[in-house]
Symmetry: C2
Subunit: 315 residues, 2 copies
């Protein structure tokens, strides 16, 4: 007797982003998902849709809410309800494009951290000239001490190992390659990382990250977030210039190549940022990501569930 393959249950928070909830729902419903993937949307009653499983929330955490207050006071927000569904294993992964600080705080409180992790970090996979690089933290912690940066290195290495890279190379995002560069916390992290156990390539500048010589790039959440969004901004500028500089006829012939390029570079094609270090698969999409980008995070989340990501994430 064949066993039916296990369902992959993904929860999505349709509230609190810069997009209208119904635009997100439309984009999600336009996706071709495997039968195994089962969606649960969490939102206020006014967006309830009969075409997918819907859990009603009473309130919304907004972008300008103070994260700690919001998590304490808005226990019935879509964000908190989604995380509780994940904690209770009603869903296998949770995706939100809402308030980052609130998502991080609520995940720590509701799901709890993985053993030995002091500070969960947002991890984004970014394209390079070679293999993608895992960048963390891209926004969970505004500031980071050397001890936190070392934990980010451990989480990034574990993530890349789970992706099949035997001995991931770690780099520290800095403003020069010399070990005296940067803040005192970066210098301290440099010294500690040199002692092992990772393959540490030293300081990496923003110019050379994209050569693809490191598998994991470490930064505090402020710097990592600037890095991520700057890369996205300049990519959009270049594609815009390309479309305006190239005559329409030639552009038509180039369309397939440009589309490939667009897909491989635009952050929208990457499945959001993973909140690493908490007990559960939580994915954060940019607040301003397009509905399509938000929907595209679903297959990425399903893949992490399928690969049994959290249990392989022993650090």
């Amino acid at each position: 007797m064949l066993l039916e393959p296990k369902k992959i249950r993904i929860g999505i928070d349709i509230m609190g982003s810069d997009n209208a909830p119904d635009a997100l729902l439309d984009a999600v419903q336009a996706l071709q998902l495997p039968d195994r993937v089962e969606l649960t949307a969490v939102g206020t009653p006014d967006y309830e849709s009969s075409s997918l499983h819907y859990v009603c929330a009473q309130e919304v955490i907004h972008m300008d809410d103070s994260p700690l207050t919001a998590v304490r006071k808005k226990k019935n927000s879509s964000l908190c309800i989604g995380l509780r569904l994940l904690k209770e294993k009603t869903i296998d992964a949770f995706i939100s494009a809402g308030n980052t600080g609130a998502l991080v705080s609520a995940s720590k409180v509701i799901l709890g951290n993985l053993p030995k992790i002091l500070r969960p970090a947002l991890l984004a996979l970014m394209p390079t000239k070679k293999k993608p690089v895992a960048v963390l933290d891209v926004g969970a912690n505004i500031e980071a001490k050397a001890a936190h940066l070392l934990q980010f290195a451990a989480m990034g290495a574990a993530y890349q190992k789970a992706r099949g890279i035997q001995n991931p190379i770690i780099g520290l995002l800095n403003i020069g390659s010399e070990k005296i560069k940067g803040t005192s916390e970066l210098r301290r992290a440099y010294e500690e990382l040199q002692k092992g156990p990772f393959h540490f390539a030293g300081n990496i500048e923003g110019t050379s990250v994209f050569n693809g010589d490191v598998d994991v790039l470490i930064a505090d959440g402020f710097t990592g977030n600037i890095f991520l969004k700057t890369a996205e901004g300049i990519a959009s500028l270049i594609l815009d210039r390309l479309y305006t500089h190239i005559p329409p006829l030639e552009l038509q012939k180039l369309a397939p190549h440009l589309n490939d390029l667009h897909r491989s570079l635009h952050y929208a094609e990457y499945p959001g940022a993973l909140l690493s270090g908490v007990r559960g698969i939580v994915i954060k999409c940019h607040g301003y990501s397009t509905p399509r980008a938000f929907a595209n995070a679903i297959p990425g989340a399903a893949k992490l569930v399928q690969e049994n990501f959290i249990s392989s994430f022993g650090i």
Copy 2:
């Protein structure tokens, strides 16, 4: 009787960068410069060239030298000699690709700050979808208090006014547009900037800087440097992908458009970063910039001299 037009005397430091001094000299000599521009190279005696004016230095400040110690102990380095030539008005502008920290410290000591300036800042002009944006600080100060950020805003506004923008729009580089975002110093700077006298557009994320809606982008030197180098790195990645994805025949037809694009985006075409806030025109090129990029900083420096930049820079 016609007066002979005044000479524009540019000093270049050929030591202390990641490039060999003779490669820099070759690139500089390959440039077509107007007759009015007169070059003075500063370097150790072994690179002395008879084809341009050469001032001998006895020592070199290296990339990994501690800036303060280097400035105190290596008074006869090419970097310090060049700045003294500028102080004595033997040259009108000085360009170096050497140790940033040493260049900034030595400029403060030898040239002195402009009135009311506590912290000089490196200013780079970067392309956007509209007009170029002046970004500062891109690396002179690792950390910045709110008071320093306000001075950067004043210097950036003065610079853009000198370039003909009547009422420059100021933005604060941050990880979200909400005023509660970022570090405490950024929040303090946000509050102060809201009070005037500038046209303040609030927090700007790396994604939207390139839309060109602000004329001046303010950041501490660490963040600004990460921003600058990330933009350069991703631009190089995209052009690389473009060249590998597009078939050779189509690429040939596209060459003029791609070259335009390359020129308008690559930081190498911009005349280095200007050390704003000191009494003299000091330009810093990346240590790793190509010899051609280094040479390209010369016309930019000549333009600033011609426009009588420092005297128009009343802030």
